[in-house]
Symmetry: C2
Subunit: 267 residues, 2 copies
């Protein structure tokens, strides 16, 4: 690992280790030692330690003095894949994801709300993909999403791809590296149109998530406003700095028991 690259070695190493972690290890396993990493990747021990320390503060692994470093959680549980991709989230919950494409087209940045084009940091003449989709888990509609995607970053996006996992289209076909997303979560009532799409009664509770997704740490790739069925979806998050800093995870609720209904009906 010569340091000719543009990015610092410890960042590259970081990604390598995170991949290796996701593929070859699972919760509770003993990870590679600093000295092993140092030798395997031809890096100094200090650099190996720095990369490991980074994974520690992300909550992926933990140090145990005098013993080694150990995997703290199922990494797929944490990976951006499962944070951003509905397809992966559904699979992780043991459900079959499908997509119903409502609309799909092209639009100029000058035509969208200024809030959107500002968040995407685009000039007025930029082009966007616009789409509305309904995501279903085991045939049950869970998400109704309205999304704008910067066309210049994935010009070859097709209608067919929009019917499946955008995450895969971005990563596999366009070679994009999804870094993460900024989300704002609010509680809303679904209006009749939205409720119909999600096959629930009008004025049902839902989560509205407004998000901007980023490529390579800073470059905005998409903007979305997404409605989640309140009885099917919940967000998990961990507050606080050390040892954790685990981002919020949206998860499909495994149980279909209507405890929320029970609560609401208990009035």
């Amino acid at each position: 690992m010569a340091h000719i690259e543009r990015n610092p070695v410890y960042q590259q190493l970081n990604n390598l280790l995170r991949s290796s972690l996701a593929e070859d290890y699972s919760r509770g396993d003993r990870f590679m030692t600093e000295r092993e990493i140092s030798e395997k990747y031809r890096v100094s021990r200090a650099t190996a330690n720095k990369a490991l320390a980074s994974l520690v503060s992300e909550g992926l692994i933990e140090f145990r003095r005098g013993i080694g470093t150990f995997v703290r959680r199922d990494v797929i549980d944490y990976d951006v894949r499962s944070l951003v991709s509905f397809t992966e989230k559904a699979k992780a919950a043991g459900k079959k994801p499908t997509t119903e494409l409502v609309t799909f087209g092209e639009i100029s940045a000058s035509e969208v709300e200024s809030a959107v084009s500002e968040k995407l940091q685009l000039p007025d003449d930029a082009l966007l993909w616009e789409m509305e989709r309904i995501r279903l888990a085991d045939r049950v509609p869970v998400i109704y999403e309205h999304r704008y995607v910067v066309k210049s970053l994935c010009p070859r996006l097709t209608r067919a791809q929009a019917c499946g996992s955008l995450y895969r289209a971005w990563t596999d076909l366009h070679g994009l590296h999804i870094a993460g997303a900024d989300e704002v979560i609010r509680a809303v009532l679904l209006n009749t149109a939205e409720a119909r799409h999600l096959q629930v009664p009008a004025r049902s509770p839902g989560l509205e998530v407004t998000a901007v997704g980023n490529v390579d740490e800073q470059q905005p790739l998409w903007w979305e406003r997404t409605l989640y069925r309140g009885d099917q979806y919940e967000f998990h998050t961990r507050l606080g700095p050390i040892q954790s800093a685990t981002p919020a995870r949206g998860v499909l609720r495994l149980s279909n028991e209507a405890d929320i209904q029970a609560r609401s009906a208990s009035e």
Copy 2:
């Protein structure tokens, strides 16, 4: 900073730097250089770098090669204080926080739902504080919370303290170090009783947050089920690993404009 202490030096240094960061620096400032820290705290440069790298992966500061390290955000914006404490959140939003204590008492762990006592990892004979509170920002009710607190960790808690900031009572009076909390966020409809407490129409949308708070990284301190008024509160979060790993932040909405109402009414 001799290494006689029980905890690793870089962790102590980490806390020192985080404190210094919160007190003496603000967004955009240039932070201390590795060499300055190395000299000031009598630590090797490698250790200084490791501590800084930890702050970087928490999203507090960022490295700029050849220039220095810079503060990325208003630290209070990130600190556990403002993540966990409603009082601090309200102040940060420029609003005056007040509390209405509905109930306050003592209860045995054997009497509460098993879900609660399990999450708090308590034996059956342990004692808990139980309380219901309504939190207001500028006299507007925002939160209705039901909370259980492990009594052994804060035996001197009083009714008067429960009328104010529990966070302050814990940290200042009992010397506890709040490490963070695990939260689950869901969308619900408020039933009549809940809606009355929050002074909104029945069947208004709300966020239900079930959380377990921790002391010193692992020891559970409280369990809570909290209802947030949908029109007054939203959660911000950042997904993905590097450069960020910023936990979810619940924030009071500054604008009272009813854009959610507008959405829901547009059906």
